[in-house]
Assembly symmetry: C2
Homo-oligomer: 267 residues x 2
């Protein structure tokens, strides 16, 4: 049986977990959320790469066959380093999102929103321009979107005003496709779509990544068996809090949540 490792800075990667679970109901999945050190999006490339490496090596040591980096910031900063360090396949969320955006755009104008880290890394911009050198990319960070989601203000007037402020450059540039380059942002789809207008295509990297992972496994001869895959959630902060917010992300109760520490020396 295939065993997939998914990791994220915290809880947002559950949007990726959800899509992978939908695509591969029979796979065993080991989800790792670094909830004690979350967020990654405001931290430096060095620190994000260091944390990501600790987690990927840990998952590898726990016997997963494939690692999926659900966090956009970790994908943006650390993917190459992880691929160099591990012998198993490592998937990020940037390339699938960029591919979907290039396929979706009609006017060649693509918007990308994400954390400060993801945007300033230039990873989406590079990935899009490699696929379509004629594409024009407008990229900007939206640092308040994650705290707004975590506050539960998904459709509040304040959230709409923040969205207008952040998205105005994208509207003014006339983008017809917008990449939601952070795992939390799909939770704000309603407000973002209201602000951008219904004709702008919103790209959710989670779905694209899941279909890419599934395609890869099928090519390798993997058959998704008729069984319910096992699931294990490991987190670096309290399991209770993860269970609480996780319910909002997955619309069901999560069981098998375990607290672990990572990279720390024994007391």
């Amino acid at each position: 049986m295939i065993k997939l490792g998914i990791f994220d800075s915290g809880i947002g990667g559950l949007t990726v977990y959800r899509e992978i679970r939908k695509a591969l109901p029979g796979a065993d999945i080991h989800y790792f959320g670094d909830t004690a050190r979350v967020p990654y999006g405001t931290k430096s490339a060095q620190t994000v790469t260091h944390f990501s490496m600790q987690i990927a090596l840990y998952l590898d040591g726990r016997g997963v066959d494939t690692v999926i980096v659900a966090c956009n910031t970790a994908s943006a900063y650390a993917l190459d380093a992880l691929r160099n360090a591990l012998r198993i396949p490592v998937f990020g969320v940037i390339a699938p999102g960029a591919e979907a955006a290039v396929k979706a755009t009609r006017n060649g104008l693509i918007g990308v929103i994400g954390t400060r880290g993801t945007i300033s890394s230039g990873a989406y911009q590079r990935a899009i321009c490699e696929l379509d050198p004629a594409a024009r990319v407008v990229a900007s960070p939206c640092p308040l979107f994650v705290p707004l989601v975590e506050e539960g203000w998904l459709v509040e007037p304040i959230t709409q005003e923040v969205a207008i402020k952040y998205l105005t450059p994208h509207m003014e540039a006339g983008v017809d496709t917008l990449v939601l380059g952070c795992t939390h942002y799909p939770m704000l789809k309603e407000v973002i779509s209201m602000v951008m207008g219904g004709e702008v295509v919103l790209i959710d990297s989670a779905q694209e990544t899941a279909s890419k992972v599934k395609g890869h496994l099928e090519k390798k001869g993997f058959i998704d068996e008729m069984r319910a895959g096992l699931e294990l959630f490991e987190v670096t902060d309290s399991p209770e809090r993860f269970a609480e917010v996780g319910r909002l992300f997955l619309d069901r109760d999560l069981t098998n949540i375990v607290h672990v520490t990572i990279g720390e020396k024994e007391d």
Copy 2:
């Protein structure tokens, strides 16, 4: 020469640093900001206590004479544990803030705002009621205030609307004193005061803590010499970013910023 250790989850503790420096210009100060793991305010008591203990023991090992916990969440959760573990004096920001609030109130109605962790710990509420059992406390978390400060939206209309939403219960209760129970909140004094009305006293724990530390040192016979105290800033994420935001907090350039890791095993 006295050597003070101040620590915080990140950069916000510089408001405490600033007040201590003003009160004790001749003291050497070692500031530790856990910028790789910031914030603490959304994390569990166990994790915040664990991180705080690592840092306090580290500062103790570096030879400081006194530890000041500049972070409200760390003070709320970890102060007792740190005092049990260390032989040197440990100051938090909760008790000084509570004392100042009890002195300031005329109608006995005190508001407290802070992170989710600080508020749900009940530390301010307990400290105030111990000093004045007749006081009534309204306490509520304001999770968006920190990201708004870090976005630099100090006086934006959106910030004002968020403040109205968070502060309405305090206004309705008729508090005449409001404790700014998070190091970032003094940066929003202007908006908070506009919303609450100029007659409501805003308590900034940083000032109160500095005068308490100074009083303690003077009682011990410490004389603040006519010299400029040395300063060292240690951070767990990149020094560059700390220097950048630190300038906003201190209105001057910071030098002597060093990157360190803490609690980690060697690679």
